[in-house]
């Protein structure tokens, strides 16, 4: 049995040690404020040892695999220099200012009119065969399984790789009322004709990008593997730009897995063990999961209830996808009892299952909750408030008018004290109600907030660049609706409605992405380091106000899970990321070898 003191590294209190220093100075976000150059150069080379790949810094775990401790050490900076660090980070950005729009070098930036046109001179057309985007007769949704009465968890041992997104076929898409992922094209905000109109032009963008990706893969000596590449090029500015312009949907599952370093976390056979141990498991989490299964993507063709054509049908008639979703969520609730199940994870797991097989979807969920958005789904949801607090800080720096507007909401009703005073950061302790509208932006990682295609592009960048990208996206959304929010006489209700509904119209993902990477805007220089510093700051502010006193009031719920597990499952290793293969490094070598081979073959012939 799991002894009480043998905590998993992701227990909130341990995780938050990362922030647990007496740093009370407010982190400075990258902006156009004057920077003191001298201070910058003197300190903290270490802090920026990942300068080239800032988004990978948190993954640089040492051999004991304890990612948390490692992060802790990289953030354990003496208070006296914390200010300089903040400033130093700003310099870091100014150094990077040659990198701009979509991460392209200045001289490589495409014209405003045609941003996704060939800035790459390497496309010679010959390399790219018709693999992938010339497509004839595949059905729109080939992997739908209508009947599956077997809900025995072991049934999934037959690994399925059916989760293959159909290749772009405009005829199919335009005729169908559904998109490539099985979602209804129309909703309360977007009509089918809006969708079709957008799709006609956007699919051209997708086809262009796919060609470029094909070339990139081949140029790196990697295999397209019948339009299902498993390995991707090593990190580079070019790759970053490609990801920012969208990974081909057919490849997304593999690409996410690769860029999020899934193979570092995956432990062969472990997921199957979890499922086995969850057979007949009944506890609070399982109960809540069961109630959410049919409320995950009720409109999606893979998830929606199978219509009962006769009275004999019973509950066994459950879509395969729902069964997978149940297994992934239940397995996760056992694996990570400090989180268990949190509403919104059903959407995350559901979307993963559209792109990845069950086992990998499970591990991706682990990566998302552990590495990318740690603390966010924990039982007390304090992580939500911390993330929202960071968003407030970012708004304050980048969109101050909106920030002030938000503070004013509710001010009249608050008789307590001057709680919204800006100088004492009380707004971090009592977040303006408006901020809670945006809590779901993070909790469900924009699923249901942005249209699906836009959401997927945000996910591409999340896995490659970490959670700072979610803040960039949020700021860009606010920038987009700023004129409306600042209109004279707009009332609170209209503000809420605008924030809640505007993102749902953002069908054209290029619109929001162009804004995220717009030259001259400073939010696109936000790094993960900034975000981590801000989190720490918000955490400390809130902690001081005793927001944590009743943290573990509800932890009795956890008892359900713990007793049902055997010791093996609670091996400490399970909670670290011990496999330190260094996939990218390894892959780089491999691709170099492949290139050499190709060259040899070429010269031979």
């Amino acid at each position: 049995m799991l002894s009480k003191d043998k905590k998993s590294p992701s227990m909130p209190n341990i995780r938050w040690q990362r922030f647990n220093m007496n740093n009370t100075s407010l982190p400075i976000l990258p902006n156009n404020k004057i920077i003191n150059d001298n201070k910058l150069k003197s300190n903290n080379q270490d802090q920026f040892k990942f300068k080239d790949q800032p988004h990978l810094s948190h993954l640089n775990n040492d051999n004991n695999g304890d990612i948390i401790n490692n992060n802790n050490s990289s953030l354990s900076i003496p208070n006296s220099i914390s200010n300089q660090i903040s400033i130093a980070s700003s310099l870091n950005y100014s150094n990077l200012s040659v990198i701009d729009l979509y991460g392209a070098q200045e001289d490589d930036v495409p014209s405003e009119q045609d941003q996704d046109q060939d800035q790459d001179q390497d496309l010679d057309g010959d390399i790219v065969d018709d693999e992938g985007y010339v497509h004839v007769s595949e059905q729109l949704h080939p992997h739908i399984v209508k009947k599956s009465s077997n809900i025995d968890p072991s049934s999934r041992l037959i690994k399925d790789h059916r989760n293959q997104i159909p290749i772009i076929n405009n005829d199919n898409i335009l005729k169908s009322d559904r998109d490539r992922y099985g979602f209804k094209k129309s909703n309360n905000f977007i009509s089918e004709s809006d969708y079709n109109q957008w799709w006609i032009s956007y699919s051209q963008h997708l086809i262009r990008r796919k060609k470029k990706w094909n070339t990139l893969i081949l140029k790196n000596g990697l295999s397209l593997n019948k339009d299902n590449p498993k390995r991707f090029p090593p990190k580079s500015e070019k790759l970053k730009r490609y990801i920012r312009k969208g990974i081909p949907s057919e490849w997304r599952g593999n690409a996410w897995w690769y860029f999020a370093k899934g193979s570092e976390v995956l432990q062969e056979g472990f997921y199957d063990k979890l499922i086995e141990s969850s057979i007949d498991l009944m506890n609070k989490d399982v109960e809540i999961i069961n109630r959410d299964l049919n409320r995950t993507f009720p409109d999606n063709i893979y998830f929606k209830k199978i219509e009962k054509d006769d009275a004999d049908n019973n509950d066994d008639d459950e879509p395969e996808m729902i069964q997978q979703l149940r297994r992934v969520l239940v397995a996760f609730s056992i694996y990570q009892p400090s989180i268990g199940y949190c509403q919104s994870m059903n959407f995350i797991a559901g979307l993963l299952l559209i792109f990845l097989d069950e086992e990998r979807a499970f591990w991706m969920l682990v990566i998302i909750t552990k590495r990318l958005l740690p603390g966010l789904h924990e039982i007390n949801l304090e992580g939500v408030s911390i993330h929202q607090g960071v968003l407030m800080l970012a708004l304050r720096d980048y969109l101050p008018s909106i920030f002030e507007k938000f503070l004013k909401i509710n001010l009249i009703d608050d008789e307590d004290e001057n709680i919204q005073s800006i100088s004492n950061y009380e707004f971090l302790n009592r977040l303006p109600p408006v901020m809670l509208t945006t809590s779901s932006w993070f909790m469900s990682i924009f699923i249901g907030i942005l249209p699906i295609e836009t959401t997927l592009r945000v996910w591409d960048c999340l896995f490659a660049e970490d959670s700072c990208f979610l803040f960039k996206t949020s700021i860009a959304i606010f920038k987009l609706i700023e004129p409306k929010l600042l209109m004279n006489g707009i009332d609170e209700m209209e503000i809420f409605t605008t924030i809640q509904n505007s993102p749902k119209y953002l069908l054209d993902s290029n619109k929001i992405f162009d804004l995220i990477f717009k030259r001259g805007e400073f939010w696109n220089k936000l790094t993960q380091d900034d975000i981590e510093r801000c989190k720490k700051f918000v955490y400390n502010q809130r902690k001081q106000k005793n927001h944590y006193k009743d943290n573990n009031k509800d932890s009795s719920n956890l008892k359900f899970n713990r007793n049902l597990l055997n010791d093996k499952l609670w091996n400490e290793d399970l909670y670290g990321f011990k496999k330190n293969i260094g996939v990218l490094q390894w892959n780089k070598k491999l691709s170099e070898r492949m290139k050499l081979n190709l060259k040899k073959n070429f010269t031979k012939s």
């Binding site: 809540i288 109630r291 959410d292 049919n294 409320r295 995950t296 993507f297 009720p298 929606k304 209830k305 949190c342 509403q343 919104s344 059903n346 959407f347 039982i379 007390n380 949801l381 304090e382 939500v384 408030s385 509710n410 009703d413 009592r430 977040l431 109600p433 809670l436 509208t437 809590s439 779901s440 909790m443 469900s444 249901g448 006489g489 009332d491 209700m493 809420f496 409605t497 809640q500 509800d554 719920n557």
Partner: protein, 202 residues
Amino acid sequence: MSKSNLSKYKIVFLGEQNVGKTSLITRFMYDTFDSSYAATIGIDFLSKTMYLDDKTIRLQLWDTAGQERFRSLIPSYIRDSHVAVIVYDISSKKSFDLLDKWVEDVKLERDNNVVICLIGNKNDLTNERQVSIQDGELKAKKLDAKIFLETSSKLGYNVKNLFKKIAKTLPEFEEIQKGNEEEEMIDINIENKENQESQCQC
């Protein structure tokens, strides 16, 4: 009258997961029903202008997530709500048993400055009923709820009636309410629903 001059009232919907908070609101707003709605994450916000007895008011409806852990996020929404609609599912004893803690949350933030409505939803699931109407009424008394109704979002039963009753507790309609004490009687007979709703033009 321009929209911004209307009196506005905040109504927050609370209750366990999957009791039908979203479907109740959707029925009121659009008069539609789906068998499944996507789970609400955090908070959803809707507003509706309501006409009643020659008066016009604007209602702000706050739809909340039902899972227990979301309760930590909700207080600031409750803080200035005029009405709290606390929903349970008549086919789930559990959702009924957990009502107290929701009421507790509301009273903690608003003392008694809030109208509490107790709603037993999914009234159409007669065969699966686990909570009797009498138990619901008793509970309403105990919790000091001004309004108790059983509703069915699926059939549209008592939904408009609920909002009408809510409106009548608001300051805007206080005088009218005093003159119509008999309307306080709650009619839960499904047959009467058409009559109940005929007055309401919303």
